[in-house]
Amino acid sequence: MPSPPSAASTGRPAERTWVGITGPPGAGKSTLVSALIAEVRTAGRSVAVVAVDPSSPITGGALLGDRVRMQAYAGDRDVFIRSMASRGHAGGLASTSGAAAAVIDACGFDLVLIETVGTGQAEVEVAAAADTTVVLEAPETGDEVQAIKAGLLEVADLVVVNKGDRPARAADGGPAAGHAGRGRRPKVGSGGAPDRPLPKRPEVLITTASTGAGVPELLASLDRHRVAGRDAATSEARLARAEAQVWAILADRLRASLHAEDRRAATESVLGEVAGHRLDPYTAADRLMGNLVDSDV
């Protein structure tokens, strides 16, 4: 299996600004990225985009359509757009998205945007890959209970309610924005351990990506977040990113090992037993891990 270049080998991890953009399908991620490109270019800065779309779980094929909304910049040398298929990797990115972003970053782009596949509630991998995570939501997509569920909204540094021209966005960005913005930190001594990780308290912005409304404010906010992030101790974030990168590669290699020529039959037989309800999936996973150890990976 080839080894793509790693962030470590590019030599400028501290300088970069990687912004992850995630949210449900159709919320306007690609359109917002396009609007951000326009804003960044107006400011005379260069920008690269890694855009991930899902691979078919059935055929392995993919339709990568993010460029359609970014065509205006196809002739601009300071805009680089790379589409990637997720290739079976869960979590919202491809297993090589981080590596691709690192290579692009090493080319000196001022800003690297990482656009995930359309995500549901729990694909939070991008938060580890990026310095700043933007979670995009559309109006009319849920009530207050949706907004207080754990997952995607929790990892947002910025919550952007897009399609701000829709009447239902409400003045405050709707229930999701209200909860993301006003969530209270647990007080020490009120049941929460003092060193327990606290949820982020994201800023909430409203944009209309199709017209560009709110996009200058978003870019300004991204810049503020970058400066703040540079000042704060980021070793924890870097460790999380390293873990996410290694984890993604490890998961790929594990799968490949289990499907390698000499183990495929054993793997398929275990899977078949689970399918036939003769074996529970936990025991199956233990057995497959045992197969790997026995044959010395």
Binding site: M1, S56, G65, R67, Q71, A85
Partner: protein, 134 residues
């Protein structure tokens, strides 16, 4: 990874506004296991070449119905070669008269798929003629 999917750019150069065929092909190739980048309508040759370079595609499939193929397609082939992409397989489809095909082949278009071509035929041609993938 020898079984890396083949990455295809489906592009519509020129000014005609009909991309039903391009979309049907994009979807069909997706179902055949290809990774298809679709770029939308009204691409200039420069836009197509830039997208092919940035996306590192194995194949550029050009759909054109406007009649401007003798101008646009050779220009795209030349720009691809200038960008170092002379190992990328270029194919075309749409409304292209038979009489024009020899000149297009000469310019670097590997195959022209006219109306009635099946998705399976296109997929088979691409699998057979694509550059080796590491």
């Amino acid at each position: 990874m020898p079984d890396r999917p083949i990455k295809v750019l489906i592009a519509k150069p020129g000014l005609d506004g009909h991309d039903r065929g391009a979309k049907v092909l994009a979807r069909g190739l997706r179902d055949e296991g290809f990774e298809v980048v679709y770029t939308g309508l009204r691409q200039t040759p420069e836009m197509v070449a830039t997208a092919a370079l940035q996306e590192d595609v194995d194949v550029v499939g050009l759909s054109i119905l406007s009649g401007a193929h003798m101008t646009l397609l050779p220009r795209i082939c030349r720009l691809l070669a200038e960008a170092g992409l002379d190992d990328v397989l270029v194919t075309a489809g749409g409304i292209i008269p038979d009489d024009d095909i020899p000149a297009l082949r000469e310019a670097g278009v590997a195959e022209v798929f006219g109306p009635g071509t099946t998705i399976a035929e296109v997929a088979e041609f691409l699998r057979t003629n694509v550059r080796p993938r590491d």
